[in-house]
């Protein structure tokens, strides 16, 4: 086997040193009853060519040559070539968590730069080295707020990504953390502040909103912060579209920002791996989950970096840890770091402006269901047929339409969530519009 670097004669010599006659003897101490008496029922090993073929065939069963207008938490953005160039370096790809600072300064320095850029983007004081993804960052943020305030109840907006809310519910169920939802306004698509105010109480530790929210609407961070803070709760602001931070005011009024960086050069990859972040104010550092890299010096007085404040973590505090998280998303965070470096101050702005322009071009041909200000996604009502029917018609033209919303919002069953990014070409958008308009039975489909 090509991954096993030993010749038979080397193996024999090693067995001799071990004082055993055969490899089987190495397992002689295992009770007979636990041993597998047959070979694993898996096909024999295959070559590289065959492996590539296998996956190419699977890829061909997926989409090929389709234009897509799906967003909803996962966005199509161009991945600069430098990203894979950097993360393919064995020194990054095949290194372990940087516990041994002397021989891990590469990873540590990059994470320090990552933490810094996330702070600059979000307006927070500190950011951790990454979480699994945006969806799991939400319950981690809620638990963090509960620790900081001593209050376990969480209020989450219905306009937060539906799957993120499901993840929060799973975590919260056994945490003694009651979770309640508050609504959005049917006209603007922004959070319903009155509903929030009504559901607020003194046992609430976290108010969780998303901006831009699941409908693409830039939401009311300041107003939500005011309501949360007045009752001694923390405001958690979630984002799924990180590119929006290139142009949108950062959620500086938030106490915790929990986000997803998939937009930063991370392949959609059918749902993962992505990278989440948690960023917060200085005073909540000790309540933060996840790894942190700090600056220090080495014994020669040179600047150096190391993992720090590790006493929050599971390997030291065990059942009293701030989280059970161990593995994070270092390599994915590195992709985001390279992405942020390549685009930089000007580029991220220009990229965000292009997204804004494309989405507004597309939206002008539809009538967005909500009047709130939006970034690169919007909800469009489909008339005359269901969104699913429209999508089926679009597929025939090799266009993947928007996400039908009925699955998550029964009241929006006649609508779909459409997204345009810098990768959406005008011609493709025009084709979408033409298909959407070219309805059966000559009825107007665009409300």
């Amino acid at each position: 086997m090509r991954y096993l670097p030993k010749s038979d004669s080397e193996r024999r010599r090693m067995l001799e040193v071990c004082g055993v006659a055969s490899p089987e003897e190495l397992f002689a101490h295992l009770p007979e009853a636990v041993r597998l008496a047959r070979p694993l029922a898996l096909a024999p090993g295959i070559s590289e060519y065959e492996i590539v073929d296998y996956f190419r065939e699977r890829a061909a069963e997926n989409l090929e040559g389709y234009t897509s207008f799906l967003g909803a938490g996962v966005y199509r953005h161009f991945r600069p070539v430098l990203v894979d160039t950097v993360v393919s370096r064995g020194e990054f790809l095949t290194s372990y968590t940087p516990y041994q600072a002397e021989i891990a300064q590469g990873t540590l320095t990059a994470i320090f730069e990552f933490q810094t850029m996330i702070c600059q983007l979000t307006g927070m004081d500190v950011a951790n080295a990454s979480m699994y993804d945006g969806s799991t960052a939400v319950p981690e943020a809620a638990m963090m707020a509960a620790r900081a305030t001593g209050k376990g109840r969480a209020l989450i907006a219905r306009s937060v990504h539906p799957e993120y809310r499901e993840v929060l519910r799973t975590y919260a169920r056994y945490q003694g953390m009651p979770v309640e939802e508050f609504g959005y306004l049917p006209d603007t698509g922004a959070i319903d502040l009155e509903d929030l105010e009504r559901k607020m109480d003194d046992l609430t530790g976290a108010v969780i909103i998303q901006s831009p929210n699941f409908f693409g609407i830039v939401d009311q961070v300041k107003a939500a912060a005011e309501i949360a803070h007045r009752r001694g709760a923390l405001l958690v602001v979630v984002f799924t579209e990180a590119v929006s931070l290139g142009i949108l005011e950062p959620p500086a009024e938030a106490d915790i920002v929990a986000g997803e960086l998939q937009s930063f050069a991370i392949s959609p990859s059918y749902g993962g791996p992505y990278a989440g972040i948690i960023a917060t104010k200085e005073k909540f550092i000790r309540q933060m989950p996840g790894r942190l890299v700090g600056q220090t010096t080495d014994s020669r007085g040179n600047r150096a970096f190391c993992l720090t404040l590790a006493t929050r973590e599971q390997h030291i505090r065990r059942e009293k840890a701030t989280s059970n998280i161990c593995t994070n998303q270092a390599l994915i965070a590195l992709m985001a770091t390279v992405f942020m470096t390549v685009y930089g101050k000007q580029g991220l702005r220009e990229l965000a402006e292009q997204n804004l322009a494309k989405a507004h071009y597309l939206a002008a041909k539809f009538q967005p269901r909500f009047q709130g200000k939006f970034f690169n996604e919007f909800v469009a009502r489909v008339a005359g047929r269901t969104p699913e029917e429209l999508n089926r018609a679009l597929l025939k033209r090799k266009i993947i339409g928007g996400l039908p919303l009925g699955r998550f919002y029964p009241e929006l069953a006649d609508s779909m969530l459409l997204c345009a990014t810098e990768m959406s070409r005008r011609a493709d958008m025009d084709a979408l519009v033409a298909q959407a308009a070219g309805q059966p039975a000559g009825k107007e489909v665009l409300a």
């Binding site: 000790r286 590790a310 006493t311 030291i316 505090r317 009293k320």
Partner: protein, 127 residues
């Protein structure tokens, strides 16, 4: 080494009682075992604490140790200097690095604590 007027616990805390107020800290032995202390977590003034229960914790780079209350009572004051200078716990554990002052609710509890000589013998034996 260990002041005569302090009383000591098996978990390596000390308490100095003047009137109905006890000043609490960790012993020199404790700080040596922990190594460089980097952070101290203390209760809020007004908190009620119970003998033998955790009142806070001290942290080194790779360890966290609970601090157990040597006596029960109400926290009157916490040492404000430790937030910015936790290293004082290494340099002056029996003096400047006191942790909290407590108004004793059950002064009888003192009888259960060790004298300096007993504690000295105890840490000698522990090693």
């Amino acid at each position: 080494m260990y002041p005569e007027n302090f009383r000591y616990t098996k978990e390596h805390e000390w308490v100095l009682v003047v009137g109905d107020t006890g000043t609490v800290g960790i012993t020199d032995h404790a700080q040596q075992e922990l190594g460089d202390i980097v952070y101290v977590d203390l209760p809020k003034p007004g908190a009620r604490i119970e003998q033998g229960k955790s009142l806070g914790s001290v942290e080194s780079v790779k360890a966290v140790s609970d601090v157990y209350a040597p006596v029960s009572g109400e926290v009157l004051e916490i040492n404000p200097a430790l937030a910015d200078a936790p290293e004082t716990l290494n340099s002056d554990p029996h003096g400047a690095a006191w942790l909290v002052k407590i108004r004793l609710s059950t002064p009888d509890e003192l009888a259960s604590l060790m004298s300096a000589a007993d504690y000295q013998a105890y840490v000698g034996a522990e090693k």
